[in-house]
């Protein structure tokens, strides 16, 4: 990006760095590894400037400025980590923590749930200096099975309100009162089910304190083992959202949206976020079945017997009625390899084109 024939640059912690018109100081600093702390920031949302942790010194400005809401300008001289800024951040963290019942929550709460605890450690801010009243009223009366609403751990960063409005366009979450009495709520203060909420879970995933939590994942908090994640694609509609499946041992314990997923950029819907445990349902087929010659019922069988039975019956059909008498239907919910092998079976095996998939139904 050129400006008056020269690259746009500013001075960041003594170093001359380039930036693009429209970038904020926070974005420029992030690109250069400055690790400015924030609690109200979500890269997908409009900058909010609420938590004041991202303040930096800007030469010529009387007070420190919030880097998330300040656009970079040519020639600016910015200091992100001066002693006084770091003291200010530590005090802020101590004050923020003082309003919450818990400062440490299980990571199963959600994607961003460790942000506050991480900053408390970084600033050594678990001092309890400001211990006293806690703010926020939890809603254990909301019996929904997905979203824990534990506002006693809320710091009023408004990320849930903003993700619901800006990212989802649902406007299900709102704010009541001001200052210390700020309360995150829904329209008419009721249960989420009676609001515009679609249970997409985005509020959970952006919450930096675990005030909002993924109840389905939390139900698995006692499953032994380390949590591992595997990147895959949601099994439902054709949008193809990327997800990180959380597992412990052989069990899926939850789903995280992939913030860098090319199709969804961190967004999910209720199905992709919460409808994963069908995989472990006791109804899953775990052996082949064949129809018993005597009873006429399906009964479990070995792979050998089932493959023999299927091949035998198919071969008989081919012998008696010709290879044109066999038809294959592939699935729109199985991977390419399944559909490819089905058409290969029909084409390379039988030499016909009697193959289709379920898109006509």
């Amino acid at each position: 990006m050129r400006h008056n024939g020269a690259a746009l640059t500013l001075t960041l912690d003594g170093e001359k760095v380039a930036f693009t018109r429209g970038e904020t100081l926070y974005e420029v600093a992030e690109r250069h590894g400055s690790e400015i702390p924030t609690l109200c920031y979500d890269a997908r949302l409009e900058p909010f400037g609420g938590c004041r942790l991202c303040v930096v010194e800007l030469e010529g400005a009387r007070n420190p400025v919030a880097s998330c809401t300040t656009r970079a300008g040519p020639g600016m001289v910015v200091r992100t980590r001066t002693a006084s800024i770091e003291v200010q951040r530590r005090i802020l963290m101590e004050m923020v923590a003082s309003e919450n019942r818990d400062t440490d929550v299980d990571p199963m709460h959600g994607y961003a749930s460790q942000e506050m605890a991480t900053l408390l450690d970084r600033y050594d801010a678990r001092t309890g200096r400001f211990a006293g009243a806690t703010s926020g009223r939890s809603r254990p009366d909301d019996d929904n099975p997905f979203i824990k609403r534990d506002y006693e751990n809320c710091i009023s960063c408004y990320r849930c309100v903003r993700v619901c409005a800006e990212q989802e366009g649902d406007y299900a979450i709102s704010v009541m009162n001001r200052g210390f009495d700020t309360q995150i709520t829904t329209e008419f203060g009721g249960h989420l089910k009676d609001s515009a909420c679609t249970f997409c879970g985005q509020c959970i995933q952006t919450c930096p304190t675990g005030a909002l939590g993924d109840l389905k994942a939390l139900a698995n908090r006692d499953v032994p083992g380390e949590t591992e994640t595997t990147r895959t694609i949601c099994p439902y509609c054709g949008v193809g959202c990327s997800v990180d499946v959380m597992t412990r041992g052989e069990k899926i314990v939850g789903v995280l949206p992939a913030m860098d997923g090319p199709a969804n950029e961190g967004a999910l819907c209720v199905k992709g976020q919460f409808a994963f445990d069908f995989v472990h349902h006791p109804d899953r087929l775990a052996t082949p079945f064949v129809r018993d010659g005597e009873t006429g019922e399906l009964r479990p069988a070995s792979w050998d017997e089932a493959l023999d039975r299927a091949a035998g019956k198919l071969s008989r059909v081919v012998r008696d009625h010709g290879r044109q008498a066999v038809y294959g239907i592939a699935s729109g919910r199985a991977p390419h390899e399944a559909a490819y092998m089905m058409q290969r079976f029909i084409r390379a095996g039988l030499g016909t084109n009697h193959i289709d998939n379920c898109s006509r139904a």
Binding site: T232, I233, V279, D283, R291, K313, A330, F345, D356
Partner: protein, 543 residues
């Protein structure tokens, strides 16, 4: 989709038709909402007052199955008002003049008699889309699941061609695909007319290519569609292998379907659950599920992405490709010695021009959208940028056709079907995931309050929904989401098998079933029977 998902927040004017996106593709819908927040306008054509209609600038509550009339009239207005993109039409299309002449007679007044929309609203919609710098069309199976599905899609293409809304950012004609790999099933060649990569089976060059690859000659004739095959079960079709489809419940005319599958000499089903379809099979093979299977899928914007196994499958479940290749070997066939999903996918890539530039490793991060013809090709987020596949975009001279079955004195209500946000298809997955039933635990029939009064129904009471194919009992829910004369239910719940009723014809080209427009009779049912059954008189199966 002709355009990437990332384009969805870029149009000036959005035209959604036959797509209940906030419920069926919720994450894509969030992009449209962002476009609206940015100032874009939106037209929504749908018989029901769906979520998108609530936030639209113009809602056209068309009668089910009348899309062509609406789209002809919109073309008429665009032509009449001089909003045709002459440069685009001249440089990139064929039969433009004929088309503009063709639509002269199709006024909004004419269309309003058919689609039952206010002619002024049709006019407004046409002016909005026609006047857009970036106009984008989005549709789903509300467009295709009609006897005139192809005509509907071509009508949309006509609009995009006449306004030059193709091949640019924030434009396009964009179908939203309904299953996570329905696009991929077609890409991989699971179609009766195409080899992998949509290579026509009737082209001698393609035949030669696959003869060489598979070591066997494949018939020159196009195969049957699934619809024809189901019609010929027990006759010319004697055996079926069905992978991961609950055909019995999802296909139209359930009784016909069940009869067809039961008349086979051999039915082999591969699935993860004992579905209604698996229950009538001779052999059922247990497949690995999502999160247990390594593989590849392609999304609605043609993005080729990796599926990865995170947990082991239950018991002896195996990947579909393994099952089918081992079955092929058991048939005594050569060339099915695959050892991994990687090997299978790489063979597909080698044989499909759309995937020639890809392989298992290259799609690791999902950055490619097909076509990717060569190794040095960056992929194709946007189709038709410079030219169309076959040279010029061809205008089609279409006429409106009535659905095969229309409402009558005996069957005076339209039934239309679809999905609901929390539940997916026949609930084989969502019905087995904890908590989803908290959001939606039973099916209800959406009926306009005036119809409830007129037909003597009770809001919350049961109704009998019937036509000559069968009868379904369902709880009634009064809502102005349904227009007068049209009722809606999803096919998610097994105790409300609405596909007992559907099945009034198919598109003659694609043989896609007319699932969206079905005349029915509707009357109060008193207390509900245990489970809806087929056969309006006897309550017994109809075969």
């Amino acid at each position: 989709m002709s355009n990437p998902l990332a384009d969805m927040d870029k149009p000036d004017v959005i035209f959604c038709i036959g797509t209940n996106m906030t419920e069926c593709h919720p994450v894509a819908a969030t992009r449209l909402k962002r476009a609206l927040a940015r100032g874009a306008k939106m037209i929504v054509a749908d018989p029901r007052r769906i979520g998108l209609a609530e936030i639209a600038d113009v809602h056209l509550p068309i009668r089910v199955g009348s899309d062509v009339s609406l789209l002809l009239a919109m073309a008429h207005v665009i032509a009449r008002e001089g909003l045709v993109n002459e440069e685009f039409v001249g440089a990139r299309t064929a039969h433009g003049e004929d088309f503009l002449k063709h639509v002269e007679r199709y006024t909004p007044e004419w269309a309003s008699e058919i689609c039952e929309c206010d002619p002024d609203d049709i006019e407004r919609a046409a002016l909005l889309y026609g006047g857009a710098d970036r106009g984008a069309i989005y549709y789903t199976v509300g467009i295709t699941e009609h006897i005139c599905g192809v005509d509907n899609v071509q009508s949309l293409c006509n609009l995009a061609l006449m306004t030059g809304n193709l091949g640019r950012e924030g434009t396009g004609v964009n179908p939203m695909r309904g299953q996570n790999n329905i696009q991929g099933a077609g890409d991989a060649g699971a179609l009766p007319n195409n080899y992998p990569g949509f290579q026509k089976v009737t082209d001698p060059a393609h035949q030669e290519k696959f003869h060489k690859a598979y070591g066997r000659k494949v018939d020159l004739e196009i195969g049957m569609t699934k619809v024809t095959a189901l019609d010929l079960c027990g006759d010319r079709i004697r055996a079926m292998i069905i992978d991961g489809e609950n055909t019995l419940v999802t296909d139209p005319d359930r009784n016909h379907c069940e009869h067809a599958l039961k008349s086979l000499d051999c039915l082999v089903v591969i699935d993860i659950f004992m579905t209604e379809t698996a229950k009538v099979a001779d052999v059922v093979f247990p497949a690995t599920a999502w999160a247990e299977t390594d593989g590849v899928c392609t999304n609605t914007e043609r993005r080729v992405q990796r599926l990865r196994a995170a947990v082991p499958p239950p018991g002896e479940a195996r990947p579909d490709w393994w099952i089918l290749s081992r079955l092929a070997r058991r048939m005594g066939w050569q060339g099915f010695d695959f050892g991994s999903a990687r090997e299978v996918f790489n063979e597909l890539c080698a044989l499909s021009p759309l995937y020639n530039g890809l392989d298992w490793d290259r799609i690791d991060r999902g950055e490619y959208q097909w076509p990717v013809p060569t190794r040095d090709h960056p992929g194709t987020p946007r189709l038709h940028e410079e030219r169309f596949e076959n040279g010029r975009g061809i205008f089609k001279m279409l006429e409106y056709r009535d659905p095969e079955e229309t409402i009558s004195e005996d069957y005076p209500m339209w039934l239309t079907t679809g999905r609901r946000l929390p539940q997916y298809h026949t609930r084989t997955q969502t019905g087995r995931s904890d908590g989803i039933d908290y959001l939606l635990s039973e099916e209800t029939l959406e009926v306009h309050p005036d119809d409830i009064v007129r037909l003597g129904l009770e809001d919350g009471g049961y109704a009998e929904l019937s036509n000559p194919r069968g009868c379904v009992y369902v709880k009634v829910r009064g809502t102005t989401k349904s227009p007068r004369g049209t009722v809606f239910a999803s096919f998610a719940f097994e105790d409300v098998p609405v596909n007992v009723l559907t099945g009034g014809g198919y598109d003659p080209v694609t043989q896609t079933a007319a699932l969206k427009a079905c005349p029915v009779a509707l009357k109060p049912a008193g207390t509900p029977p245990a489970l809806s059954q087929a056969g309006p008189e006897t309550g017994a199966a109809a075969w």
